[in-house]
């Protein structure tokens, strides 16, 4: 499997949702038109009797009580008799054509008793609110306290109070959720974009009753995800249809369907109080948040934990109180999204930090430097940390950035502002999540070195990074290496998420390299004479150390096929536990500076410049690394300035990309990346993932730039131009 940009440009590169076997049936889903309802009657008999319809499935086709999910297994594959969000699958059909499938959906009879919609996550948790699930609407909660916050705030010279409402951001990957399932009734092959093929197989096996050994799941490559395809999307329904029809089934959502039922970023409702003393040293932080997970938990509990863990930021506090709640509502489903709960809390905290810096009369960078947590300090929730690079060099670099280019716009019409942010975020999973990984390195029959791993490629450059790691670690040529990734036919490497993909790929390669090199040299010695130590690897094959040829003495192809050379590798989890809290021990730091201009006539805000300072260690593929920073910055810009999918009575207020505004090239300022490549020689991992951290830093920097321009912290993101006009009017 190779990947060239030219192939992507010219249509030669194939995505899983492009797969369309000639005999594939068309899958379609009947979706509930209500956000909250009880199903009184569901009759599929007319649809089943239609010629050309090969399968109709409902919850009756799943094992009794079957639910899936991560920490909370609360999600049925189709409505379990209660509809909990608008668009929830009620039934699905597989038919010989789209026309027949549509007619079959119309022939399904459903009667609903509409229930009151739970649309406000705060009210959802109040006494007497209609419950979505047994046990009420509190899906998860976390709290943490260290020191006496009230006392710390009480003796503070300056205290700020702040509210922030963050948006329901949509991933809006251009590739829609979908896939193909192929089954003869006794086995199943599922081709659908996924971050964790083994987890998909686990769920599908339990759902269909087919043994895992009879299920094969391919999840890579992905045409964009950002977390949106991390949880299962069409796979459960698709698997049920194919097993029942005993035919291949293709099911790909339309954009309006994907907008309605796809994962979203959790909206957070945040309130905080933070203080500092006369000298500008931070005192107490009281931070509470309610996050809206919609109808099912998905990654919500993990998102809440990560968000709350990042709420104290990169700073040392005398006392901290954190209180986070995750509410069920009828507003679709929220799940994993790059930045993962943290970007929400980081925006709120960094706005408070700038407000305190102003009150204390400090420059924002100097104020941060005064308050940064030390490298050997415990983590934000008191946890022991694996490795935390010093934060001060990062803050110093932020302060030493060259002046942002002068904004040339008309000062009578445009206000300008500049903001900074400095954040840290855990990498991988907290609290003993699946941080380890398995893989293998072998010599393929074609004479190429093959890394096998279930990590997936979604455009983040996993393949390029893995190839670069193989080439540099084994000293071989590009044509010598090959990858087999993203499927259950190889060993389980865990989810490709939480910025861990590159780190895991590199650790697998490094761990395998020694034994693999030794095995090849031993094979060469036994077949061609000499001792193993007489040989070394190089481009194209093995070289006798005594002879300095420019071509290999033994080509890889000469060894291939005759010997089985295969090294199975496992990298252990990096984890600690803290009294039941889900905490990270491995952190990444990043800073950013943003400039904005505010149009006094329209209230519209434009981001005019962004600097991002990721501290991720050596960059394997610099262009891909910069691409991750710029791509994250674009999503941060959308989060702060243009993107929201409000729900009214459980119905989202846009159906497509004409009513939901992701940044175009014209919206994006130049993004300058200033990477800090040195994590220090004693860093036990040696590098950090680049997938999320740029987004996490850029968003609070933009929010602070808006605050700087207007003199008022935004209380809602994205910033509404009407609110801006209101602020300007009040100031005038």
């Amino acid at each position: 499997m190779t990947m060239r940009i030219a192939d992507k440009l010219t249509g030669r590169f194939r995505y899983l949702t492009d797969e369309a076997p000639a005999d594939a049936l068309t899958g379609l889903v009947l979706r509930a038109p209500h956000a909250h309802a009880r199903i009184l009657l569901l009759d599929t008999s007319a649809a089943e009797a239609m010629p050309g319809v090969h399968a109709v499935v409902t919850i009756a086709d799943a094992p009794e009580g079957f639910r899936y999910g991560l920490r909370h297994k609360d999600q049925p594959p189709l409505s379990d008799g209660v509809v909990r969000y608008r668009g929830e699958a009620v039934a699905a059909v597989a038919a010989e054509s789209m026309e027949i499938a549509r007619a079959a959906l119309e022939a399904i009879e459903v009667d609903y008793a509409v229930l009151p919609t739970v649309s406000d996550p705060v009210r959802a948790l109040e006494e007497g609110a209609p419950g979505l699930h047994e046990g009420g609407n509190l899906c998860a909660a976390m709290s943490y306290a260290q020191g006496d916050v009230e006392a710390a705030l009480g003796r503070s010279a300056h205290v700020v109070e702040l509210k922030l409402q963050t948006p329901r951001q949509m991933h809006a990957a251009l590739e829609l959720e979908g896939g193909v399932a192929i089954s003869d009734g006794d086995s199943l092959t599922l081709l659908a974009p996924a971050h964790d093929p083994h987890n998909v197989r686990n769920v599908i096996s339990a759902l269909t009753g087919l043994d895992e050994s009879r299920c094969h799941v391919v999840g890579s490559p992905i045409g964009g995800s950002y977390g949106g395809k991390e949880d299962l999307h069409v796979q459960p329904v698709l698997a049920l249809l194919a097993v029942k029809a005993k035919r291949p089934v293709r099911l790909v959502l339309t954009r309006p369907e994907a907008v309605m039922v796809g994962m979203k970023r959790h909206p957070f409702t945040i309130r905080l109080r933070a203080g500092c003393d006369e000298a500008g040293r931070l005192t107490g932080l009281d931070f509470s948040a309610i996050a809206d997970t919609g109808a099912y938990a998905s990654h919500g509990p993990e998102v809440l934990d990560t968000g709350m863990e990042c709420a104290p930021g990169a700073y040392g506090w005398q006392a901290v109180r954190l209180d986070g709640k995750l509410a069920y509502t009828n507003n679709g489903i929220a799940g994993a999204f790059r930045g993962f709960g943290a970007v929400q809390t980081q925006c709120a905290l960094e706005l408070a930090i700038d407000a305190l810096a102003e009150k204390a009369g400090h420059d924002p960078v100097a104020f941060r430097r005064l308050n940064l947590a030390g490298a050997s300090d415990p983590g934000p929730m008191g946890q022991a940390m694996v490795a935390m690079p010093e934060l001060d060099p990062l803050a110093r670099s932020l302060g030493e950035l060259p002046e942002a280019p002068e904004n040339a716009s008309d000062p009578d019409r445009y206000l300008t502002g500049e903001g900074v942010a400095l954040i840290r975020k855990g990498e991988g999973f907290g609290g003993g999540g699946p941080n380890g990984a398995r893989g293998s390195l072998s010599l393929g029959a074609d004479g190429r070195v093959v890394l096998e791993s279930s990590l997936t490629e979604m455009g983040q450059g996993l393949m390029a990074a893995a190839q670069a790691a193989l080439i540099s670690t084994l000293d071989v040529a590009r044509d010598d290496v090959n990858l087999r990734i993203g499927e259950t036919g190889v060993r389980d490497s865990g989810p490709t998420s939480a910025s861990r993909g590159t780190q895991i790929a590199v650790r697998l390669v490094r761990k395998a390299a020694g034994p693999f090199r030794a095995a090849l040299c031993a094979a060469a010695a036994s077949r061609f004479g000499g001792a193993p130590e007489d040989y070394d690897l190089g481009p194209g094959g093995l070289y006798r150390k005594s002879e300095r040829r420019n071509r290999p003495d033994i080509a890889f192809a000469d060894l291939a096929g005759k010997e089985t050379i295969r090294i199975e590798i496992e990298v252990p989890a990096i984890e600690t536990h803290l009294a039941g809290q889900s905490v990270h021990t491995l952190f990444t730091a990043c800073a950013a500076r943003a400039s904005v201009s505010v149009d006094r006539w329209t209230g519209r805000i434009t981001c005019t410049g962004l600097d991002i300072l990721p501290e991720c260690g050596p960059r394997l593929v610099p262009a891909a690394f910069e691409g991750q920073m710029a791509g994250g910055a674009a999503q941060a810009l959308g989060f702060c300035l243009t993107e929201d999918l409000p729900a009214v009575d459980g119905a989202f207020q846009a159906q497509n990309l004409d009513g939901y505004f992701i940044p175009t090239i014209a919206d994006m300022p130049p993004v300058r990346v200033h990477a800090l490549d040195d994590l220090g020689a004693d860093d036990p991992v040696g590098l950090r993932g680049a997938g999320e951290i740029g987004l996490n830093a850029a968003a609070p920097a933009i929010a602070n730039a808006v605050r700087d321009a207007l003199g008022v912290a935004p209380e809602r993101l994205p910033v509404d131009p009407l609110w801006v006009l209101d602020v300007l009017e009040r100031k005038a």
């Binding site: 060239r4 940009i5 030219a6 992507k8 440009l9 010219t10 249509g11 030669r12 590169f13 194939r14 995505y15 492009d18 991933h171 809006a172 990957a173 251009l174 590739e175 829609l176 490559p221 992905i222 045409g223 964009g224 995800s225 950002y226 339309t254 954009r255 979604m458 455009g459 983040q460 450059g461 593929v621 262009a623 891909a624 910069e626 691409g627 920073m629 710029a630 791509g631 994250g632 910055a633 674009a634 999503q635 497509n656 990309l657 004409d658 992701i662 940044p663 175009t664 090239i665 014209a666 994006m668 130049p670 993004v671």
Partner: protein, 148 residues
């Protein structure tokens, strides 16, 4: 109705409803792999093709309007747009790649339209091509390389 057009230089004749959309005709009937339909409303630009030299969203064009037209897809512009492809490759401008064929078609139109198009104007043309991965940073560098 019967319609005729040339597709990447080859004559095509097929039966289609006059209001059938061009994108699914190209993708599903004629097997053009580069044409995909992520939005279907002409917003994202992923289905962009050249219709008589002009970039259009194939999801908005109806079959009745392409009689006698010359249609080029990403496959058909690739050779002439080699400098554009090389520049995008050089700057790692493409991530997941789902938007890439539409992007190539838009850039090819700019590239073969007027040789002296300014980079700034090319950027303006590309507001109809949404990319969710890249933040357009590598794309900007590639444009600066190819255009004045």
């Amino acid at each position: 109705m019967k319609i005729h057009f040339t597709l990447n230089g080859q004559p095509v004749e097929l039966e289609a409803e006059p209001f059938a959309r061009l994108a699914p005709i190209l993708a599903d009937v004629l097997g053009i792999a580069s044409v995909r339909t992520p939005c279907g409303i002409g917003r994202c630009g992923a289905c962009m093709v050249l219709l008589d030299g002009r970039p259009v969203n194939a999801c908005l064009v109806v079959a009745g309007k392409v009689e006698g037209a010359e249609i080029l897809t990403a496959e058909g512009v690739a050779d002439a747009a080699k400098p554009v492809i090389d520049a995008l490759e050089r700057h790692g401008a493409v991530q997941c790649g789902y938007c890439a064929p539409g992007l190539l078609v838009s850039l090819a139109a700019a590239h073969r339209g007027t040789g002296d198009m300014k980079a700034e104007d090319v950027e303006g043309l590309l507001t109809g091509n949404l990319c969710r991965c890249s933040g357009y940073a590598g794309l900007r560098k590639a444009i600066a390389d190819v255009f004045a």
